[in-house]
Symmetry: C2
């Protein structure tokens, strides 16, 4: 029984549809009816010490903020505006007070940055180590919700920024190597303190030309596979269109890893992945400019299933490589 079986098992047993539920398990957020115009978006994510974070290298302020960001990212991924936060804090009996104070500052900073109000939660003793569960509740007009399930053959596949940064940053930290200077700061930052794309998510939701959207938490390969499965389509990624930054390429060299593989398999970038028909490109580009974010067209949607990476050799022969569900996996997965 792996994490997908776990999800499937509980989902099949428990009542999972009914009055008020617009979207249950299976997307970035659950969607429930609010009033005639709007719906609530609800998401829940748990971060566990030694699985999702390491206190050796993760400054507590940034970890606190990240706990908020990763949940807010799920709300942004549906086009919504985050509003409220519930927080459950698990601390060992003799916990580090200074560490916890700084962590709390990060939680508060995250709430302020994303315009959220902390409305409740729980504190418990956690003998096994630090762990944090956050629920974020967001709102959006009914007609602007973007699901994973609406991508159509012919659509282009977009991402909202550099890929693989967070995975490269984590790799640098976990190997404990000193690669010097400020040049790799964007990679380290991407792991320590990702930025949820709230403004972009809102604008893409409102513009009416985007067909499907989700956030990149488990890596492009895995996440696009989810999107394609839900939309009953095939995803093609063009290897030469992957947005690979100069710091990523240099770090990959030092780490002896492929930058393309970091970009395709690396998790936790918390960029937005979305699809739109080709004639929407101008609108999408304008939204990117308004949000001061570079948006990249990395592939296209076809009839079929699964996800493939297309690579052209010197003779322009295209090689098709199956990459679905090859992404980062630390035994853990959203059941929203």
């Amino acid at each position: 029984m792996n994490e997908r079986d776990i999800i499937q098992y509980i989902t099949n047993l428990a009542p999972n549809r009914g009055e008020g539920v617009v979207q249950g398990i299976g997307d970035d957020c659950a969607v429930i009816g609010k009033d005639g115009n709007s719906v609530w978006l609800l998401t829940m994510d748990t971060l566990v010490e030694k699985v999702h974070f390491d206190r050796k290298w993760h400054p507590p302020e940034l970890l606190g903020r990240k706990s908020i960001s990763v949940n807010v990212s799920d709300v942004a991924a549906m086009g919504g505006k985050p509003l409220f936060v519930l927080l459950s804090v698990g601390l060992p009996q003799s916990f580090d007070k200074e560490w916890f104070s700084a962590f709390s500052e990060g939680i508060a900073q995250g709430c302020r940055d994303y315009g959220c109000i902390l409305i409740g939660g729980d504190t418990v003793c956690s003998p096994g180590g630090y762990s944090f569960t956050v629920t974020v509740i967001g709102e959006i007009e009914k007609e602007h919700v973007l699901y994973r399930s609406n991508a159509s053959p012919g659509d282009e596949i977009w991402v909202s920024g550099w890929l693989g940064h967070a995975a490269a940053g984590l790799e640098i930290f976990s190997r404990g190597i000193d690669i010097g200077g400020q040049q790799f700061q964007p990679l380290l930052n991407a792991h320590l303190n990702p930025e949820a794309r709230t403004q972009l998510g809102l604008e893409l939701g409102r513009c009416g030309v985007v067909s499907s959207m989700m956030d990149l938490s488990d890596g492009l390969a895995t996440d696009l596979a989810h999107l394609c499965k839900r939309s009953k389509v095939k995803g093609e990624i063009f290897a030469d269109r992957l947005p690979l930054s100069a710091p990523l390429s240099r770090a990959a060299d030092i780490l002896d890893l492929s930058p393309a593989m970091l970009a395709v398999n690396g998790g936790e970038d918390y960029e937005l992945l979305f699809t739109a028909p080709p004639d929407a490109a101008v609108t999408v580009e304008q939204i990117g400019q308004a949000c001061v974010l570079d948006l990249y067209r990395v592939g296209r949607i076809r009839q079929g299933s699964g996800v493939v990476l297309l690579t052209a050799d010197e003779q322009n022969n295209v090689r098709e490589q199956k990459i679905a569900y090859g992404g980062f996996d630390h035994f853990g997965s959203d059941i929203t």
Copy 2:
């Protein structure tokens, strides 16, 4: 820094009031505006292995159901109807599949019993042991919400059932003593599989005569102290009015504990604690009968602060004993 400091610390740092928030941190649930007529109630509780449950004696089905019940109880305590569930599951890398399947059955059973729909959540690897965080979302008409903060001098204090059962049940299990027969089953059941008082909560919310309400999760002493602090009043408990069951008295005898102290300090009964003016007694009694629950008047509200236990000796001299915040505490406390 104890659990109350933790709550205070985060609450002071983070934005905790604002548009849409009817009630933030400080009651059984957070309350946020839904539409013109109704509000949402939101609560979150975490159960951690070896802190809140022991797999040695807790059958997984009952633990799953209890994870739902303790959250539903918070919604009932505001007068609301539970609707939706988010569940975060933390499992060790090599977890017991059979145990988890049975636990999932319990989650599903809890959802069915209380009329809730599982809409999402998370699954994570938890090297430190099993842990579960549940969020329940409920609904209620705006004018029917019952807070902790509205008890008035002169009100009577009510509870909805036997007190101390869950604490006695836990004590029997944790001492590993075999006290034989079926006579203590109500105590063991109260610990393993508490019943959230949803119907009673709804009726008390609707009847218009109840002034304040909360659920008994940390014990009468602690919970009444919370209610009195929020209402800026004093609570008096009459020792001779405490509902002490025959099984509790017999078990207390075997355990060499005072049944009254189990009833006052024992946590996790998940009965409702509420206040109403004396002339509401007939209405309250009728609601109890309709719900097939015995309701007990255990004290009264006065001007002042704190909670006291009043005991009369043979000469009818009344002794006043301060008992506030003496309840069960496993380092863990709601921040709703």
